[in-house]
Symmetry: C2
C-alpha cells in the first residue's frame, strides 16, 4: 500500500483521498495552518508533525503552489516529492511562469514584469490599454489583480499596488506582472498527467466560465481535434521542460483558433473536477497514479459533463437530487463569502440533454448564490439546439 | 450533515463511506467482532461503543443480515433503523424468506423446511433429485450447503447436516431448507432502492457468474424490457410488503423467460458493485439517499460494465491499469483463501469493446486466482461478436 503525503489539507487533498482509498492508497494531508499531518477527510484526526509525515510516507505531493519554500526543500531532499519543487514554485510565481513560457516559446499575452514606478510607467507605454496587473505571488480567484482601462486611474492603481507589494508577507519578494488584456472568445483549460515514466495523458479541453473572478462552471464536451492537438503540444512542452510528474492544469485564452496560455497550476485543478463523473479515470486518481509510478488511466470523455461550483453557500435544496446524473461533492467547510464549498457534476447522453439538465438545475438553485447559471444554461441550450 | 451508523464494518460499510463523504454525510461503522464503533476506512480509529454510536447518529443501517437480534432491537427502538429489523431478519433466515415469497405469490424453486429426519425423508420424496439443502441461517458463498444427486448419499448428508444444526451457535434455532435444484439458463440479480417516501428505483438486471460457489463476475448490459419488468414487479411486491427502505438485492434463476427468486439480501450487494462505474448513481449512494429521505438517483446504465471479484489474492499486476476504464476497488483486508479482497470494474462503449477489455484483463491476471475469467471473457466475446 502506497503512503502519500499531500502538502495542503483542503478539498483537493480530500478528493485525492477519496480517489486513493479504492486503490489501496493511504493518503494523509499536511495542514499548513496548524503544522500538523491530518486525515484529509477527518482533519481532527491528527497523525503528527511534518517530519513524522515525511518519514512515514512513500511519496509527497502538493495540492497548492504556495507552499513555503523551506517546506519544499525538506521534502525534496527525501527524493519523494512529485512534482519537483521547481515546478511547484513556477506555478506559484507568475514571473517564473512567464519566463518558462517565453523559454519554451509558448504563445501567451504580451507582458512586462514590474518592480518599481519606472517599470509601471513603461508598462503602460509598452502595452495597450486595457492592462491587467497581477501580483506575482499568492494571487488567486481574482485577488491581487487590478485592471487599468482609463489612464487617469494609473496613479490610484499604482498606489494600491505598491502598498500591496510593501505589505507582502512572503519570504520571496512580491512583484507584479503587467499583462495586455486579451479580447478572448472563451477561456479553456487542459488538465493532464505525466507519470514518473514520462507517460502523458490529457483530458479533453474544458470550457470555463467565471463569475466575479471565480470559476463558476466548467464544461467538458467533444473538442475539435486541431484545438486539442494545440493544447496537447503546450502540455507536452511544459511538462517535459519541467520534468513534471503529476497532474498539471493549463488555463488558456482562446482567440479565434489560437490558444494563449493564461496561467498554469502544478496540481489537480477546479476545472478538472468534472472528470470525477465524465471521464474514464478522474484527475485525482490520475495524479496518484502518476506520482506512484502506475500506468495512467484513460482520459476519455464518457459523455458531455458540466461542473457547477458552489460558492459561499451551504444550503442546496434536496430537490437537485431528482435531476438524473447529479453528483454532489461537498468539501465539509464552514460557509464564508466567496469560499468554494463544493461542486455539482452533471452529465447528459447528448449536449442537448446536458443543457436541459443544467436549465433544471438552475431553476432549483437560488439566484443569489448562482447568479449566472440560468443565463449560462439558456445560452448553452440555444447553442447546442441549433 | 446526516450521521449514519452502519451495523457491520466490512467492505460494504467502507464503500458506503466513500459514497457518502461527497454528499456531506458522516458514516461510522459498528464492528460486531470488537463491539466498537469505528471509522469504516480506518478501523483503528475507534469512536466508542454501540450505545454511543446509536445516540450520536441520525440514521442506522446494516451491511449484513446476520446482525444479532438483540442489536437490531436496540436500534429499532430509536426509530432510526432502515431497513426495519423484520426485513433484515427475513434476509438472514431462509425460512422467513421462503414464507415471504410464498405469501407474495412470487415464483421460486419448490422447497420444504426440514427440522428432523422425518422432514428430510419426506423432502426427498416430495422433491425430485437433485436437491440442494441450505442452512436457514448464516449460509453464504456456498457455505452450509449440500447437494444430493445420488439417493445413496442421503444418509451421509443427513449426518453432516444434523451435526451442522446441532453445532449452530446462533440464538435462533438453525434449520434447513430443501430446494428442488433448478436447471437454470443463467443467474441474474436485481438491485434497487426504495426510499422513506416509497419512491422506487431499480438498476438493470445483472448477469452473475459464480466460481466455486462465490460470485466471480457480474455483467451489466442492456436488458430485454419484459424481463426487466418481471424483476421490477418482484422488487416492488417484496419491498412494499416489507415496508422496505434502502437498497435490496434479489437473486434469480432465469429459466427460459421466467425468473425464479433464489434469495434476497436486505442490503447493498456484491452483484451491484458495477454501479460504481456503470450507472448514473451507484448503489451505495442510492442506499444512503433512500435511508436519509433524499430523492433517489437515476439507475440508468451508462455503458456496458463488468465487475470482476478479487478472491483470496492481494497481488494484482500494475499492468491492469493500462486497460482503459479499469477501476480498482481494494477493501484493505488481509489475504485469506476464498476471501473477497476487492473488485475490478471495467466498461466499454459497446459490449464488444467490454468483452475485448475483459480478454485483455484475463490475460494479465494470474490463472490461479482467476481460473474462469479467460473462458468467461472468450464466451462473452463470441456471443456479442455474432
Amino acid at each position: 500500500m502506497k503512503k502519500v503525503l499531500v502538502l495542503g489539507a483542503g478539498q483537493l487533498a480530500r478528493m485525492m483521498d477519496l480517489a486513493g482509498a479504492p486503490l489501496g492508497m493511504d493518503i494523509k494531508a499536511f495542514d499548513v495552518r496548524t503544522n500538523k499531518v491530518v486525515h484529509p477527510i477527518d482533519p481532527e484526526h491528527i497523525y503528527g508533525d511534518l517530519n513524522q509525515g515525511i518519514a512515514e510516507c512513500d511519496v509527497i505531493t502538493a495540492e497548492f503552489e504556495h507552499v513555503a519554500h523551506s517546506t519544499l526543500k525538506v521534502c525534496e531532499e527525501t527524493n519523494k516529492l512529485f512534482p519537483n519543487s521547481d515546478a511547484i514554485k513556477t506555478g506559484g510565481d507568475r514571473r517564473l511562469e512567464k519566463a518558462l513560457l517565453d523559454t519554451c516559446n509558448i504563445a501567451n499575452a504580451k507582458h512586462v514584469v514590474i518592480e518599481n514606478k519606472t517599470d509601471f510607467d513603461s508598462a503602460i507605454n509598452l502595452l495597450q490599454l486595457p492592462i491587467i496587473f497581477k501580483s506575482a505571488l499568492e494571487g488567486y480567484d481574482g485577488k491581487g489583480q487590478w485592471r487599468l482601462k482609463d489612464p487617469q486611474q494609473a496613479d490610484i492603481i499604482w498606489q494600491e499596488m505598491s502598498e500591496f507589494i510593501a505589505n507582502a508577507s512572503s519570504s520571496t519578494p512580491q512583484g507584479i506582472i503587467a499583462e495586455q488584456m486579451v479580447a478572448f472568445d472563451r477561456e479553456v483549460s487542459i488538465i493532464g498527467a505525466r507519470s514518473t515514466t514520462g507517460e502523458i495523458a490529457v483530458y479533453p479541453l474544458t470550457e470555463n466560465h467565471h463569475t466575479n473572478g471565480i470559476l463558476s462552471v466548467s464544461l467538458a464536451t467533444p473538442v475539435a481535434e486541431a484545438l486539442q492537438a494545440q493544447a496537447f503540444e503546450v502540455f507536452t512542452k511544459l511538462t517535459e521542460k519541467l520534468n513534471y510528474v503529476g497532474v498539471l492544469a493549463i488555463e488558456f485564452f482562446q482567440v479565434g483558433e489560437q490558444l494563449l496560455v493564461n496561467e498554469i497550476a502544478p496540481r489537480v485543478h477546479n476545472s478538472g473536477h468534472w472528470t470525477q463523473q465524465g471521464a474514464d479515470t478522474c484527475q485525482f486518481e490520475n495524479h496518484l497514479r502518476a506520482i506512484c509510478g502506475l500506468p495512467l488511466g484513460s482520459t476519455q470523455l464518457i459523455r458531455p459533463t458540466a461542473m457547477v461550483n458552489i460558492i459561499g453557500e451551504d444550503d442546496i435544496p434536496d430537490e437537485i437530487f431528482s435531476i438524473p446524473s447529479v453528483a454532489m461533492h461537498w468539501y465539509d467547510k464552514e460557509k464564508r463569502d466567496g469560499r468554494k464549498m463544493g461542486h455539482i457534476n452533471l452529465c447528459g447522453q447528448s449536449e442537448v440533454e446536458l443543457a436541459e439538465r443544467l436549465m433544471t438545475l438552475a431553476a432549483v438553485l437560488n439566484k443569489t448564490s448562482f447568479p449566472d447559471l440560468n443565463n449560462f444554461a439558456a445560452n448553452y441550450l440555444a447553442n447546442v439546439s441549433n
